[in-house]
Homo-oligomer: 239 residues x 2
């Protein structure tokens, strides 16, 4: 089964009464099929990434605020040229984190700034690829917003091998902060997702929602994020 196929199968388990409910965490854009099935299945909480159009209680971290906190921190250290490395615009985490970054930069520098961005997936491999591209393109930014633990790890691995120093040559802010960033050679400044709180709250929503009387649209909640400042951000390197 491909990913979507597997998700559809899980949703059918509810219809056939084999499971009591699902917390649905997807990692790819929907073609419309999932939204319809989720709305029909009921007893589904959509968490972490949105399935647009699905009528279900939804719970995300405050992606926009996370991007904003990263951008403001970088701007306050003097960065104007910040590379966004993350998921596609079709995913809310990919669009909201980007918009938050952009809003912070525009606000701080009082001008319209459109950050350059590399789009891929939340994987170590994509992080490696993005770091190689960044080097190949002559390091076209003084700072990087790497929007998942995996992306940050892949990028740091390639930078270390290539002799690109963090934060000496380029500053970096991560996102998720589930990885043990505090023990890294350069402890990584990152936006922390409240992973456990999201898990607990998703379960509570699943158990306490009155599914017979679910409003349309169903309620949506945002969990707060915080910036954990460590040592991967410094003023822009001299060129």
């Amino acid at each position: 089964l491909n990913r979507t196929g597997r998700e559809v199968t899980y949703l059918e388990l509810i219809e056939h009464k084999h499971v009591d409910g699902l917390i649905f965490v997807t990692n790819h854009p929907d073609d419309g099929q999932l939204a319809r099935l989720i709305s029909e299945a009921g007893k589904v909480v959509v968490a972490d990434e949105d399935v647009p159009g699905a009528n279900a209680p939804k719970l995300f971290c405050d992606n926009e605020q996370g991007g904003y906190l990263a951008g403001r921190h970088l701007a306050e250290h003097g960065h104007r040229d910040v590379l966004f490395v993350g998921n596609t615009q079709a995913m809310i985490s990919g669009s909201h984190r980007f918009h938050g970054l952009r809003r912070a930069l525009c606000e701080h520098w009082r001008q319209d700034i459109a950050p350059p961005n590399y789009r891929g997936s939340y994987t170590i491999d994509f992080g490696r690829e993005a770091a190689r591209r960044f080097i190949d393109e002559g390091m076209p930014a003084t700072a990087i917003f790497a929007t998942s633990d995996e992306i940050a790890i892949g990028m740091m691995e390639v930078f270390r091998a290539a002799g690109v120093a963090i934060p000496g040559d380029v500053s970096l802010v991560g996102f998720d902060d589930v990885a043990p960033f505090h023990l890294f050679a350069t402890p990584v400044t990152a936006v922390r997702q409240p992973v456990r709180a999201i898990g607990r709250r998703s379960l509570t929503l699943l158990l306490e929602t009155n599914w017979q009387e679910l409003a349309a649209p169903a309620p949506q909640e945002l969990m707060p994020v915080e910036l954990v400042v460590r040592e991967s951000v410094a003023p822009p390197a001299k060129r």
Copy 2:
């Protein structure tokens, strides 16, 4: 539900034909109930940790060899007093990794050596607790075999805060190597589990086993491990 209760529920799903099979990964000793249910349920592959007495195809990493590789590496660097930090003897990972370590030390030093050991669980919290105990007891070993990523991370965190240098004050070998140890301030030497290979092979066993004609005892397989040498081991610190 407590953990065992939940596991029992999963096994009942097979009996009631709601799922086609299970790859069973437990993290606590069995009181005999799980073994009986697994044997009766059929279509279960036991992976990673044993459920003794369960008649099911089983798949583990070579825990004894992993312990041996860690012990030999430490002994070759001059360590005789090695603290084992890991799970209880009731878990095969807790007993086999310990026996492997002991075998290597006895073989190298040509005498009977019974390594001191702290027993708990594979968690960051237990790692922190073990590190504090190690310091409180006056650092009663020149090296530590921390037998999970979580334990190693918890210990390193406490050591760093307490100013205990790795490998200057104490050497450390980890186990699992799923964490990004290569990017740590002191890159961690660790026994690497073939996590993906174990996952793939478990699925293959689930799909290809002839469940009608399963032998008793069912076959058991060990997946090879390797030692990834980095920078957390040095000769014993001068006292």
